[in-house]
Amino acid sequence: MDDVIGPVRQYILETFLKGEDPSALRNDTPLITGGILDSLATLELVSFIEQRFGIQLEAHEVDADRLDTLTAIEALVRSKSARV
């Protein structure tokens, strides 16, 4: 699979962190528990991930365990892609 972290980072920076220094968003920056993504933003990110990587997430998968960092998102996408 292609790069996962790159497009997701780009999407987050453009959609939720306009004007922020891109280098400040690291792979382990807490997105949900750190308050960057609220509930609406999380759902928008889910839609982006589903469309960009062709996967389908379930309700119980939308949590900080799987979506809190770029690293966790990458693991989730790869895990779901492997099952497709």
Binding site: G19, G35, I36, D38, L40
Partner: protein, 853 residues
């Protein structure tokens, strides 16, 4: 992904426990600050005594677990949590443990998730039947709030996790989750997420976790102290609302009282940090929210997360085929609807009774609509990240003002007896006064000034907890120790005294768990029995009432209470002995809590008739040991050598107002041919009048006095009026009501050749009242005023009350009152026409507590 697997350990972060000198020093510093926190809680009587003991116990548990390897710490936490339950509830804690284990067992059954859910619901139903007394299980009543607080939401998250993540591998983690310390000390507890609880255990550096834990606990203590200040100095009684200023103050205080919940939750989550649980904040600058969706995200964050997990996301994913925007709005609406229902569920388990009121339903309906509209606004706008402070934003400031004022009004609705009461309070705002304009302008100005800044902004690089160097730890500890140590010092008598009487008075109020004046009235006079809204989850009054034994019922619930269909409304049902407040309570054939007396006064006897409310009726002490009986024995023993007798007749009836005393005097007491009539006043006298008029109006009893009848009509009071509206109406009439009571009693006594006096009393730990309306009228009529409002002589007043949950006099209190009243009678002996019972040459003995000779 499975829950409860390996704890993520990073060498530089959570690694094995630091056994270095530096690590030991950190543990000692943290434990010392925890002890200071416990001392502040003890000195300021914050929350319950159980919290102080729980914190000390948790401190020992903290040190123990911090010295253990990480793999053993979860088990240690579970053991400490279970032990804390026994610490607070002794063997009754077995009920809590048994119910928790039952839920755990059902959740782990190797059956389908649906069947596990059904079985768990069956257990909940059985518990509900037991709570209602249908299933006689014999569980102490005080355990129910704890059971509700521990399991009624936590089990939902546990079952959800087992369904989606599989059974837990670490049973200790699950036990720790279910029985989490300090839940036993806080029935109203944040809904900690099961998965977060396990996943984030020691996933950050110990030094940062401990420092954050102490910070949040200190913040919690400060919230609780601010709550105290508001509770004692800002709270307005609805009955005292006269104009816009009072309305604004009342609305603001209802929202500000929420500080207690945020204080409690900060303490809880801070303590959990000391056991390694990196949990999110429970509240975040919620008073500065600039939209309703932002408020929803900031106030009780754990509730929001719970609803997102079990309601919002499942709903959204189920309906998103209708489009993301619509699905979001629909999911938000469902969340708000279920939030209303689940708050009722929570209240039922903690408070009991019917948790759903019209005010509650209206509150959640309006808030739900506002949040959905706000979510629609968010969707319509291109949202930006809010974690960066870009400077002052006027639109944000206006949003903050709007949300704050709206929430203040909504909280007023929520805590009102009914929507009708709420609107009657708001209507008083039509009386625009200078104070109201100034107060409103001040609040709006302050919010505009501070609300335009994004105070919650943080740097992206600061979002992750980093280890604290030793020097940072020392600075952090010194700061918190100085704040906490300063608070402990402030509560010490020599320091308080040195700060002057005004400051000492404020500190004394803030450092005491005593009820404010309004709640004291509610507790003692029972005026607001129906007004004790279950919405007041944080109410101190509710907690006091919770501690009452099951048989500590009101007189109205006994056979000793009878309703009359006339202006007196109530009386003691004659010729019986009932069990009341855990004592035999005998009522004679004339409906008096006293021995039998003939109507005709025996020759050579001086009769004193004492009328009044429950303090005179004297519940909770053995028959013959109340102050009227003690006074009679004392005075009679002095009179016998003179060939005379003295009788003191007790006409006290719970709740009797000044008006009822005057009518009771005419209809009953005067028939006993008293030489002296003593009416009593327990200032403020408004509460007694309010209760009396509430009964009159509710029972449709006509007012015999045409002028009074017209005044009641002018005040707009009728049988449908709510309690606080009645109280406000009566408050406007109280001067004339009290005046006519005394005048009426004066003419009755004079017509029968008796003398009269007014006795002013104050129950133990009852805030002194400056109100002397009855005394003023009585004084103008030439009555002696027997002031017994300061009888305790500086002694701890708590020693004179029946129980923590009941301020009526115990036997010592009654003995003290008998002596105090004797001293006053002696002082006014000539004016009262008393026989020469006392040797006037003897040196007057100072009052002492204790039994009379």
């Amino acid at each position: 992904m499975s829950v409860g697997t390996a704890i993520p350990v990073e060498k530089d972060q959570a690694g094995s426990p630091t056994r270095t000198l530096e690590g030991t020093l950190r543990i000692v510093l943290t434990a010392s600050q925890l002890v200071l926190l416990a001392l502040v809680i003890r000195e300021f009587e914050l929350e319950s005594r159980g919290l102080y003991h729980t914190l000390l116990f948790a401190g020992a548990g903290f040190v123990l677990q911090a010295l253990l390897p990480i793999r053993l710490r979860m088990a240690c936490f579970a053991a400490v949590s279970v032990a804390a339950i026994f610490l607070l509830f002794s063997m009754a804690g077995l009920w809590v443990i048994a119910i928790g284990l039952l839920f755990l067992g059902l959740g782990l059954l190797p059956v389908s998730a649906s069947l596990r859910l059904a079985l768990s619901l069956g257990l909940v139903l059985a518990l509900g039947l037991a709570r209602e007394g249908v299933l006689p299980v014999g569980m102490p009543g005080y355990i129910w709030p704890v059971v509700g607080g521990m399991f009624m939401f936590r089990v939902v998250l546990f079952l959800y996790s087992v369904k989606h993540e599989g059974p837990p591998r670490d049973i200790w983690a699950t036990l720790g989750y279910l029985f989490m310390i300090p839940n036993a000390a806080f029935p109203f507890f944040p809904i900690v997420d099961y998965k977060t609880f396990i996943r984030q255990h020691y996933d950050a550096p110990e030094s940062a976790l401990y420092a954050r834990g102490i910070s949040w606990m200190t913040r919690g203590v400060i919230h609780l102290l601010l709550y105290r200040v508001i509770y004692h100095y800002v709270v307005v009684d609805p009955a005292d609302i006269r104009g816009l200023g009072d309305v604004v103050q009342y609305c603001l205080q209802t929202y500000l009282l929420y500080l207690r919940v945020s204080g409690q939750f900060h303490l809880v989550v801070g303590l959990l940090h000391l056991f390694g649980f990196r949990l999110p904040e429970t509240h975040h600058l919620y008073y500065l929210s600039s939209s309703f969706t932002e408020l929803w995200r900031r106030i009780n964050i754990y509730w929001k997360d719970f609803m997102m997990k079990v309601v919002y996301h499942p709903t959204f994913f189920a309906v998103r085929r209708i489009g993301n925007g619509r699905a979001i709005l629909l999911s938000t609406a469902v969340v708000m609807l279920l939030t209303w229902a689940l708050h009722g569920w929570q209240k039922y388990w903690i408070v009991g009774g019917n948790p759903f009121t019209a005010s509650d339903s209206l509150f959640w309906s309006v808030l739900g609509v506002l949040v959905v509209l706000s979510a629609a606004g968010d969707l319509a706008r291109a949202r930006k990240r809010v974690a960066v402070n870009k400077g002052y934003d006027f639109r944000r400031a206006v949003g903050t003002v709007t949300v704050y004022l709206t929430m203040s009004i909504l909280f007023t609705l929520w805590t009102s007896e009914s929507p009708g009461s709420f609107f009657s309070i708001l209507r008083m705002g039509a009386n625009v006064d200078r104070r109201g304009i100034l107060l409103l302008s001040g609040v709006v100005g302050l919010l505009l000034a501070v609300g335009g800044w994004n105070w919650g902004a943080t740097d992206l690089r600061e979002l992750k907890l980093r280890p604290l160097s030793l020097s940072m730890t020392l600075r952090h500890s010194a700061l918190h120790a100085s704040v906490l140590g300063g608070l402990v010092l402030l509560a010490q008598p020599p320091v308080k005294d040195a700060l002057g009487s005004t400051t000492a008075g404020v500190i004394a109020h803030v450092s005491s768990s005593r009820l404010n004046q309004r709640d004291e009235n509610l507790l003692t006079r029972g005026y607001y029995e129906s007004l004790s809204s279950p919405n007041r989850l944080a109410g101190q009054l509710w907690e006091v009432r919770q501690s009452q034994p099951a048989d500590w019922i009101s007189l109205e619930q006994t056979t000793g209470w009878a309703f009359r269909n006339d202006f007196l409304v109530t009386e003691l049902a004659p010729s019986q002995t009932i069990r009341f407040k855990q004592q035999d309570f005998s009522i004679n054939s004339h409906g008096m809590h006293d021995k039998e007396y003939p109507l005709a006064k025996p020759p050579g006897t001086y009769r004193i008739a004492i009328l009044g409310a429950s303090p005179v009726m004297a519940p909770g002490v053995p028959d013959g040991t109340d102050f009227t009986a003690l006074l009679e024995r004392r005075l009679d023993s002095l009179a016998i050598p003179l060939g005379r007798h003295v009788e003191v007749l007790n006409f006290g009836v719970a709740g009797y107002s000044a008006l009822q005393q005057a009518v009771q005097l005419e209809q009953k007491a005067i028939l006993f041919q008293p030489d002296l009539v003593l009416l009593t006043s327990l200032p403020p006298d408004l509460a007694g009048l309010g209760l009396h008029f509430q009964y009159l109006l509710r029972r449709g009893i006509s007012f015999p006095d045409p002028a009074l009848r017209q005044a009641i009509q002018r005040a707009g009071l009728d049988s449908s009026s709510k309690s606080d509206a009645i109280l406000r109406g009566v408050a406007a009439l109280q001067d004339s009501l009290l005046g006519s009571s005394i005048t009426r009693a004066d003419s009755t006594t004079k017509d029968h050749g008796a003398r009269a006096a007014l006795v002013i009393i104050r129950l133990p730990e009852y805030a002194p009242s400056k109100e002397r309306r009855m005394a003023t009228v009585a004084g103008e009529l030439g009555w002696p005023i027997l002031d017994l409002s300061q009888p305790y002589g500086g002694q701890p007043e708590g020693e004179f009350r029946i129980a923590d949950y009941d301020r009526h006099w115990n036997q010592r209190g009654n003995a003290l009152m008998a002596r105090a009243l004797e001293a006053q009678l002696r002082a006014f002996a000539d004016r009262l026409g008393l026989p020469p019972l006392w040797d006037t040459t003897a040196v007057h003995q100072p009052l002492r507590s204790g039994a009379l000779p």
